[in-house]
């Protein structure tokens, strides 16, 4: 007897592929936002699967805050080249020239100028009407109620109180000119699903996710990588070598490392099954103010 049942990962994959194809079919000019992180890696693989044996009919866009880890940029270049992706890299030129950065301006200003504003600039510049993001509902409280097709007005704003109902797998793709949709094909995946899928599918990820001896500085309880000369020298002087890895990868130095021995994908999955702290504890930006993610999202951040 044939088996007609799908595993959890199989079902999540089928759902994500359906969503990705739906956007490609209903929108004129979609783009996939690519952060180089693990979720982006999974999302890019799902897109490759969705259009196989054809080429993915939309580009990847990386919003470069100019404060990404070096290893991430190297990974981005080699990965997109190997897979034949169209890659757009966009950054906020004005912010960059003003020297906006987390050390000098604080995490709030940096995120606002170099991430949120840069993203809006990029979306406007290419007139994208749909943008895929790798956000998951289990990441953060305000995400739990976000739609898979999340409507944005012409100023890219999200109105949590005025979201379109989303039933079955029928997605309302109607937008007026200038309005757009953010699409989250991996909404229903958990952090553990992501890791299991990376293992199952053998998806390449940035080496920073694997544990290694690295120089780190303890800043307010966060282990910040100290291999970058943009970090003030007096801070860097306090660095010590530790076996660490990254659980999430945001902006350097807004993302903290965790102490870990997990240097293989199996060990990472195992660690994820037993870890007692949530994913976003290593993201410094979240601690700014309560409901800070919701605030950022209203303003147009992912």
């Amino acid at each position: 007897m044939k088996d007609y049942s799908l595993t959890n990962l199989g079902e999540l994959e089928a759902e994500a592929i359906h969503i990705i194809r739906e956007v490609a079919a209903e929108f004129e000019n979609p783009v996939m936002l690519y952060s180089i992180g693990k979720d982006s890696s999974v999302m890019a693989r799902l897109a490759e699967k969705a259009f196989y044996p054809g080429k993915v009919p939309f580009p990847l866009m990386h919003i470069d805050s100019k404060w990404k880890f070096k290893e991430m940029i190297d990974f981005r270049e080699s990965y997109t080249k190997e897979k034949g992706w169209d890659l757009i890299v966009h950054y906020n030129k004005e912010g960059f020239e003003k020297g906006i950065g987390p050390f000098t301006h604080g995490s709030k200003v940096h995120t606002d100028v170099m991430k949120t504003q840069a993203l809006l600039e990029g979306l406007n510049k290419y007139k994208f009407d749909a943008a895929f993001g790798g956000a998951r509902r289990d990441e953060e409280k305000s995400r739990a109620k976000e739609r898979i097709f999340s409507f944005r007005d012409k100023f890219h704003q999200w109105d949590p109180k005025n979201q379109r109902p989303e039933l079955w797998n029928i997605y309302n793709a109607k937008v007026h000119k200038g309005e757009s949709i953010r699409v989250f094909p991996i909404s229903n995946w958990t952090e553990l699903d992501i890791w299991q899928y990376i293992r199952l599918e053998n998806i390449p990820i940035v080496p920073l996710y694997y544990a290694k001896m690295r120089p780190v500085v303890n800043v307010d309880g966060n282990l910040i990588l100290a291999d970058d000369d943009r970090m003030p020298e007096e801070v860097r002087a306090k660095a010590e070598m530790k076996m660490v890895r990254f659980r999430t990868l945001g902006c350097y130095p807004l993302t903290g490392a965790i102490e870990s021995e997990a240097d293989t994908i199996e060990k990472i999955v195992e660690e994820m099954m037993t870890i007692t702290k949530s994913e976003r504890t290593t993201r410094v930006i979240d601690f700014d103010q309560e409901g800070s993610m919701e605030q950022k999202k209203r303003e147009g951040y992912f």
Binding site: A14, P53, R137, K174, M273
Partner: protein, 634 residues
């Protein structure tokens, strides 16, 4: 077990999507909080944030207020109510779970319906102290309306009724007698105390009289594999892949049924047949695919297929219709307006739709049917819908994927309503607003003579032969010949053509597109009246517009409308009506279809005729009428 085989095992887990319904008083948040907490899905930092928030803004006194964990958005937290659907995730060694957490208040029916649309199972919470209340019934009705097959009635707060078996049994009995009027194949009752932990994760020591499963154990073991429809193949084409000249792949998320290599298939609406050549995936070719997989197939033959088409097995087809009845839930702040032309999205198909009639509204608290003219936010009821093109559907109770649709407001683009198709509607019962008014007028005369009596008297069915074609194509020649032959053979027929109708009935109308539409609408109604009284109508009208021809067919009744196309060459027409076209060329007359206005060549004509064979063409129609038993019936 080594780590690799452990992980291999772990990723074979399946997925259960469930809905929780109930209010704060029923302890819903506590139940979810405990499931998350006991399955280690609550992290330390979330727990400490929760403890901090509980003291600051919580509504649970000194206890941890789990609702704070679940209510995501700031506005909700301040008001202390959940205003939307929130999704929670947890997994155990056996399964992964997605919880759609929805609030219980009546005004949030739309959220509950949203959460239920993707769920396999619903937990309905009741407070053991209050038992089954109106809200419980409302939730159960909505859950059954959305086609959820498994319901768990969680009788919570058993600690507050001394863990009494009698209380539990009474509540279950009450509930059972209520649900008999609904369609719920699998129902389980569990006595519980979410706060104290009885029968949530651990079996209760306080209720030795209960021998069933605890909540988590039940959720881990309930069999959902056979809930899917594996019988009826419905393959809605979502995307066409053409990476190179050779490869044409049709991508779809299989709605239902199994598709296998070699299967004989038919494509809707083109009705072209072929065989499945291959099933292509990134992970290699497959011999078969099943729902809800997203896959790509290729076919043996080159057939024109686009998004919105549906591939099905030749011997198992869905309904193909433009009119159907549905249960509709109104989701928009703006009330229903019967004059709106909505966008409808159904599987991968987009069309326009209008609500023809509201049959009744269901009072979600009493399940009574009420007569209303329209729906407001959160109201539910039965309606008749007409779409601009046929949809390929099944009744929702048979197929959740092909029975569901959404209506989108053409101006605001909000999702105004969501619907579940009950079934198609025969055109006899079509309550189109125009025909309705007429029905009432005609009804007085018709009541005295039955349709059968008329058929017996005339030995014919009252139907319409509608001949379309541009000026000079030979419509009138054919119509007049046909009328004469019908008359000679003993049939009762009436001929209608443009000039005779415009002489009297429609004399104030000109040739502008608006007046043209009105002209044909009136003619259609005349045909309808004649047909209703058993008379055959032979019509000769240019009727260049496809949408207007459809409207005509709708007024007359699709199954008694027979379209004939006079397909003459332009040269023939110009020669046949030289004087007319000369004036047109000089600009003395305008608005001429096929000249300065478009003429939509019909694709659904019964016959396409060459005008140079008018004599035999009329014979062909007579044969057709005989074969169809329109005339003679006996």
């Amino acid at each position: 077990m080594d780590i690799k085989s452990f992980l291999d095992q772990d990723q074979k887990k399946d997925l259960l999507r469930l809905l929780t319904a109930g209010s704060v008083d029923d302890g819903k948040s506590t139940l979810i909080g405990r499931l998350l907490f006991d399955s280690k899905k609550l992290y330390e930092d979330q727990l400490s944030t929760l403890e901090r928030d509980s003291k600051r803004v919580g509504h649970a006194g000194e206890e941890i207020d789990y609702a704070l964990l679940l209510d995501g958005l700031k506005a909700e937290r301040e008001q202390g109510i959940t205003i939307d659907v929130a999704y929670r995730y947890f997994s155990t060694a056996k399964r992964k779970f997605i919880i759609a957490d929805t609030p219980g208040h009546e005004q949030y029916t739309r959220n509950m319906v949203t959460g239920a649309s993707t769920a396999n199972l619903a937990i309905i919470l009741v407070n053991a102290q209050t038992g089954i209340i109106t809200q419980t019934k409302r939730h159960t009705f909505l859950v059954s309306l959305l086609g959820i097959k498994h319901i768990v009635l969680a009788v919570n707060k058993m600690d507050l009724v001394d863990y009494s078996q009698e209380v539990f049994d009474n509540i279950c009995e009450d509930y059972m007698s209520f649900v008999t009027q609904l369609d719920i194949p699998d129902l389980t009752c569990i006595p519980m105390s979410a706060l104290k932990g009885d029968n949530v994760v651990e079996p209760s020591v306080n209720m030795p009289w209960y021998h069933g499963q605890g909540m988590l154990e039940f959720l881990e073991t309930v069999h959902i594999g056979s809930d899917r429809n594996f019988r009826d193949l419905r393959y809605p084409v979502q995307y066409v892949l053409r990476p190179d000249r050779e490869f044409r792949g049709f991508a779809s998320r299989i709605a239902s049924g199994i598709i296998k290599k070699g299967d004989e298939i038919i494509v809707l609406p083109s009705m072209k047949t072929s065989k499945v050549k291959s099933i292509v995936t990134y992970d290699g070719e497959k011999d078969y695919a099943f729902p809800p997989q997203s896959t790509t197939i290729t076919l043996e033959d080159e057939i024109d297929i686009s998004r919105g088409d549906m591939i099905v097995h030749t011997d198992n087809r869905p309904r193909i219709e433009r009119h159907f009845e549905a249960m509709l839930v109104w989701m928009d702040e703006t009330p229903m307006d019967l004059s709106t032309h909505f966008f409808i999205k159904h599987t991968t198909n987009n069309a326009k739709a209008r609500i023809d009639k509201v049959q009744y509204k269901v009072d979600v608290n009493t399940l009574q049917k009420l007569e209303v003219g329209h729906f407001e936010l959160n109201e539910i009821g039965r309606v008749v819908i007409t779409t601009t093109k046929p949809l390929f559907f099944d009744p929702y109770t048979k197929n959740r994927q092909t029975g569901a649709f959404i209506l989108i407001d053409p101006v605001t683009h909000n999702t105004s309503a969501v619907g579940m198709i009950i079934d198609q509607l025969s055109s006899k019962d079509l309550p189109s607003r125009i025909t309705n008014m007429d029905k009432e007028k005609i009804a007085r005369g018709e009541a005295l003579i039955s349709r059968d009596e008329r058929v017996a008297k005339y030995n014919q069915e009252g139907e319409t032969i509608w001949i379309t074609g541009i000026h000079g194509s030979g419509k009138n020649e054919l119509a007049f010949t046909l009328e004469k032959k019908l008359f000679d053979n003993g049939a009762t027929a009436v001929l209608l053509d443009g000039s005779s109708v415009r002489l009297g009935l429609n004399r104030e109308l000109d040739y502008s597109p608006t007046d043209q539409a009105e002209h044909l609408r009136r003619v259609a109604h005349v045909c309808r009246l004649l047909n209703d009284q058993g008379i055959i109508a032979v019509c000769s009208f240019i009727s260049p517009d496809e949408s207007i021809r459809r409207q005509v067919a709708e007024i007359i009744g699709k199954d008694r409308f027979h379209l004939i196309h006079m397909d003459a060459s332009t040269e023939y027409c110009h020669k046949n009506n030289a004087e007319f076209y000369e004036k047109a060329k000089n600009g003395e007359i305008e608005n001429i279809p096929g000249f300065d206005l478009p003429y939509d060549v019909p694709e659904d004509a019964v016959f396409k005729f060459n005008p140079e064979e008018n004599g035999s063409n009329a014979e062909i129609i007579l044969e057709y009428l005989a074969k169809k038993k329109i005339y003679p019936v006996k």
